[in-house]
Amino acid sequence: MRHVFSVRIGPVGFRIGSDWRAPIAQLERLYADYPAPHAGVADFSVQLFAARPWRRLIRPRVMIGGDYTLPEAPPLPLAQGLLAVEMGMDLQMALGQRRYLLLRAAVVARDGQAVMLTGASGSGKSTLAALLSLRGWRLMGDEFALLDPITGMLHAFPRLVRLKNDGIAAVAAEVPERRLGPMLPGTPDGAIRHLIPDATTVAAMDTPATPALILFPSFGLARAERDVAQSEVFVRLTQASINYPALGERGFAALGGLVKAVPARAIDYPDTESAIDQVEAAWAAL
């Protein structure tokens, strides 16, 4: 490919190739403080390429390729190239990652103890993780929790935090402009803007944490909290896992161990300040 960028996010190395310079230039700025893959060898490759040669120049649209591809994935406008890179990275993780049980969750940690915030897209977990990281929590990731089936520890995967719609202003009000990526309006998920994780996050990303609390946040409801039964946690986490079937019995044992060992609470929250307060309260009650 004409333009290439390699980066390591937590334990996973990526090599991103592109027919266009622009997405690579953005990655170079946004991931400037991240290391290269171990020994220079990436685990996964992602490619952004033009569907037809002339599509590189005329109304350029980005096709997503890599070690694993989705043949039906529609191309994105070049202006959303950064999002295309992320979708490509997500796809490689979802289809190719076998070392860790992948759970769709944001993770923050304090004193080596991790809180998982799991929920569907739109539950506000990225915004919440970003704001918690601005209030003394270590950000371990806003999208994937990597559970090690051997040790039961959570590994960090702190890629750029993907802020959406209302979450953008909530976080942008608290960080300098240089920590934000370009505004990407009109994506399939609405407006998207990325937050660069802070230096502490990147410096600590090779240090795993012990799972201590599982939270199921739901945005838009009156403030409420409840304990979640282990059987419900088990079902919800199998649904929140990306690669549970692929891991087979290792996944079953890892998930069972997590569910049996770690308390879980559902928190309904009307606004992000309330959610932060509720996370702190649940943490304090451990």
């Binding site: 059987s231 019995e249 079953f252 569910v259 049996k260």
Partner: protein
């Protein structure tokens, strides 16, 4: 769905093909042969335990389950047999229970 016609003996899948984890009121079972996870509620785990490797007929299973489970006796006998039959069919479909010829 596999048919158990003419195969009146029900057995639990061989223990080495299952990983079993009790989670509050439920039993999570990983079925190694299919790679599928099943979350069982009562009385399915009791049925598996009662069948064991030796196996039982439906009537013998019902008699064994009655003291410990929601299966009653007397007037509800036919309804219980139907309910147990439906549960066994489901368990056979998952592979957690096998049916075979007697003797």
């Amino acid at each position: 769905m596999p048919s158990c016609a003419g195969m009146p003996l029900y057995r639990m899948a061989r223990p080495e093909t299952l990983a079993i984890l009790r989670i509050d009121g439920f039993t999570a079972v990983y079925h190694r042969a299919s790679g599928l996870t099943h979350l069982l509620a009562a009385p399915a785990p009791e049925i598996l335990a009662a069948l064991g490797e030796a196996g039982l007929t439906r009537a013998a299973l019902l008699a064994k389950l009655r003291p410990d489970t929601a299966f009653g006796d007397g007037d509800e006998k036919n309804a219980d047999e139907d309910r147990l039959g439906a549960l066994l069919d489901e368990l056979v479909a998952t592979g957690l229970v096998a049916c075979e010829r007697a003797g």
